[in-house]
């Protein structure tokens, strides 16, 4: 029991990282980004390929991958995401879906359809956490996740740029009136959100196998987490990530790993039916409820 709880929370730390990136984009820009999972996949893929090709330390390689992803996500924002802002829901869904298909195809073209993995002696060495033996890579992933989310919280609530982002998220028209540069804020938010997905991929890479279709699982799970935590709520997404990590681990242990994702979606439908605004969402979310 205790082992499962600790392992679940460890797994949840990285899921939280993916979901926080998604909820940031979702909350500020009101875009449902189906391509978010592909950034996780590309982050994992690029790290694995770099490490196997050069024998570099996986975390150093990961840092390079993260830096390299920033201009790419900026181009994706300017080329595609910016065109969908303010458009109808179905345009957004299918544009980001097309992006997801294209990014998957890019990974397939660049790396082939094999499943990649590597073993790093340091990341697979075992350490004891609260009496449970865990791979060091998972501990680093969890710690990295916590650090990045805490850093984001500090950025959003304690800096001027963060305040601007929150202002745009609150009311983008009023933010424009008082002279904030909406477009620049959106670009920053999209790059930041995508960087979180890439960072999650980097942290997952030392202990997870990856193929070009891995991304879809991550995006679906993080949609669940985002709704669970409440739309646009960074803290909610973080707690939601940990909860989903624990549930997945327990269900995987008792019912078999093939039911992990199904359990998350059953939870999802239940949460939507009982408390559509999510655990930490604002009560007056009129977009969520009919007639509200």
């Amino acid at each position: 029991m205790w082992d499962l709880l600790v392992l679940g929370i460890m797994a949840g730390g990285v899921l939280a990282l993916v979901a926080v990136g998604l909820t940031l984009i979702f909350g500020v820009m009101d875009v449902m980004n189906f391509a978010h999972g592909e950034f996780v996949m590309l982050g994992m893929m690029a790290t694995v390929v770099t490490v196997t090709a050069t024998g570099m330390n996986p975390y150093l390689a990961g840092l390079l991958v993260l830096l390299a992803s920033l201009p790419i996500s900026y181009l994706v924002y300017v080329g595609i995401i910016r065109q969908t802002l303010g458009k109808s829901l179905n345009v957004q869904i299918f544009t980001t879906l097309g992006l997801s298909i294209a990014l998957q195809a890019v990974a397939l073209m660049a790396f082939g359809s094999r499943t990649f993995a590597f073993s790093d002696p340091f990341a697979s060495s075992r350490v004891s956490v609260l009496g449970v033996q865990v791979e060091a890579g998972r501990v680093i992933a969890f710690g990295g996740g916590i650090l990045l989310v805490a850093g984001l919280w500090y950025f959003l609530y304690r800096t001027r740029a963060g305040k601007q982002i929150r202002a745009v998220s609150e009311d983008n028209y009023a933010a424009k009136v008082v002279g904030l540069r909406i477009n620049r804020t959106y670009a920053l938010v999209f790059m930041l959100g995508s960087a979180f997905a890439v960072a999650a991929g980097v942290l997952l890479a030392p202990f997870t196998a990856v193929s070009s279709t891995t991304g879809l699982n991550y995006v679906l799970t993080s949609f669940v987490i985002v709704v669970l935590g409440g739309l646009g709520s960074v803290g909610g997404a973080f707690i939601g990530g940990l909860v989903v990590g624990v549930i997945e681990t327990f269900v995987g242990y008792y019912f078999g790993t093939q039911w992990m994702q199904a359990s998350v979606f059953i939870l999802f439908v239940l949460v939507l039916a009982i408390r559509p605004q999510g655990l930490f969402g604002k009560k007056s979310l009129d977009s969520a409820m009919v007639g509200g």
């Binding site: 345009v91 097309g98 997801s100 195809a105 073209m109 999802f268 977009s287 009919v290």
Partner: protein, 367 residues
């Protein structure tokens, strides 16, 4: 009489064209493409009853399609139920699941509704994968080729054209009837503004449930025909996430407003997939998907109202040039509703109110 038949003329023309083309003896590949297009056109048209006509943007229709395909096959092969009865039972089962989608729509809208219905499709997909005794797991079920009309399984692809065409014609005819009925106007009202629709006394809940239930029934029919046509169903080809957004995508690309938008979309998407693969080949894995994804982005961004929308705009432009009427000012994009004829209006009036009118007329006369 002529007036009630008029909306069906384009459908009849399409059916005649398809039959005529089939009689010229096209190649097997063309026939295969035509069958696929017709099945998915029926599926997309069924989706459009909920998605386009009532505004319930469901991403869960893959589950309904899968129920049609797997339900029919399991009932036929495991329980020996006659094919047509099996199709009917699984379609009714799909209606139950569709009503659940409708129930979700009572509480959620927008992003949340889309995600919740997508969740439903994913649950169905995982269940199909994980009950291998019943569904064959990832390998799926291979349906034995016992030809015969009562099995809906045929030897040649020509014969299948009549089945898939029949499926499409039934679906499209139902949509045409619906569009000119009171129910159709109610659905449109709910789509445009639910609160206003309720305030003028339209039963919004019942209308939504009706739309999504009918849509589910017809989606399951399409799934059943798909199973009988391909004779090989797996969770991936009838229930995966890719299947669940196929009908929505087709309806959007084609245009969600008209009856034939989904048909145009199904044709374009199927041909696009086919020709991209044919042109690029499998020499570079992923290149065809890359082109497909790119074209998808471009076409969604450039044609938010679909191909049919483009044609409508072009038609309006030509009419304006000929009649030299100035362009109308920007209006709120709503679908126009035909004004109901006087005799049609009389049908909608309840008998009681007609009687009272007559009674009052008589009173007038007595005075």
């Amino acid at each position: 009489m002529m007036k009630t038949l008029k909306p069906f003329i384009p459908l009849a023309v399409i059916a005649l064209l398809v039959i005529g083309y089939t009689l010229t003896g096209p190649s097997r590949m063309t026939l295969d493409l035509m069958n696929t297009i017709l099945i998915f056109a029926a599926f997309a048209t069924a989706w459009n009853i909920a998605g386009g006509m009532t505004g319930l943007f469901s991403l869960g229709h893959g589950a309904l399609f899968a129920i049609g395909a797997f339900g029919t096959t399991i009932l036929r092969l495991n329980l020996g139920v006659p094919t047509f009865l099996a199709i009917l039972i699984s379609a009714l089962l799909a209606v139950l699941v569709a009503l659940f989608i409708g129930a979700i729509s009572l509480r959620l809208r927008g992003h949340y509704f889309g995600l919740a219905t997508l969740g439903l499709a994913v649950i169905m997909f995982i269940m199909l994968q994980n009950f291998p005794n019943l569904t064959g797991g990832d390998e799926g079920i291979t349906i034995p080729k016992e030809t015969g009309f009562w099995n809906l399984i045929f030897q040649t692809k020509e014969e299948y054209v009549y089945v898939t065409l029949g499926l499409y014609v039934i679906t499209a005819a139902i949509v045409i009837v619906l569009k000119h009925s009171k129910k159709g106007y109610q659905m449109l009202a709910v789509k445009e503004d639910e609160v206003s629709a309720r305030s003028i006394g339209i039963p919004a809940v019942r209308t939504k449930m009706f739309a999504v239930g009918l849509s589910g029934f017809l989606s399951a029919l399409a799934g059943a025909v798909f199973a009988q046509y391909t004779l090989y169903i797996t969770p991936a080809n009838v229930g995966s996430v890719a299947v669940t957004w196929e009908p929505a995508l087709m309806a959007i690309i084609g245009g969600m407003v008209g009856v034939f938008g989904p048909l145009v979309g199904a044709g374009l998407i199927t041909l696009l997939e086919h020709f991209v693969i044919e042109a690029v080949g499998s020499s570079i894995p992923g290149l065809s998907n890359f082109i497909y994804g790119g074209l998808l982005i471009v076409s969604i961004l450039l044609l938010p109202n679909g191909v049919v929308g483009i044609f409508r705009n072009a038609y309006d432009w030509v009419v304006r040039k000929i009649t030299k009427r100035p362009k109308q000012p920007d209006e709120i994009s709503t679908t126009s509703v035909d004004v109901v004829d006087a005799d049609e209006l009389a049908e909608h009036l309840e008998p009681r109110s007609v009687e009272t009118t007559e009674a009052s007329v008589q009173k007038e006369g007595q005075r």
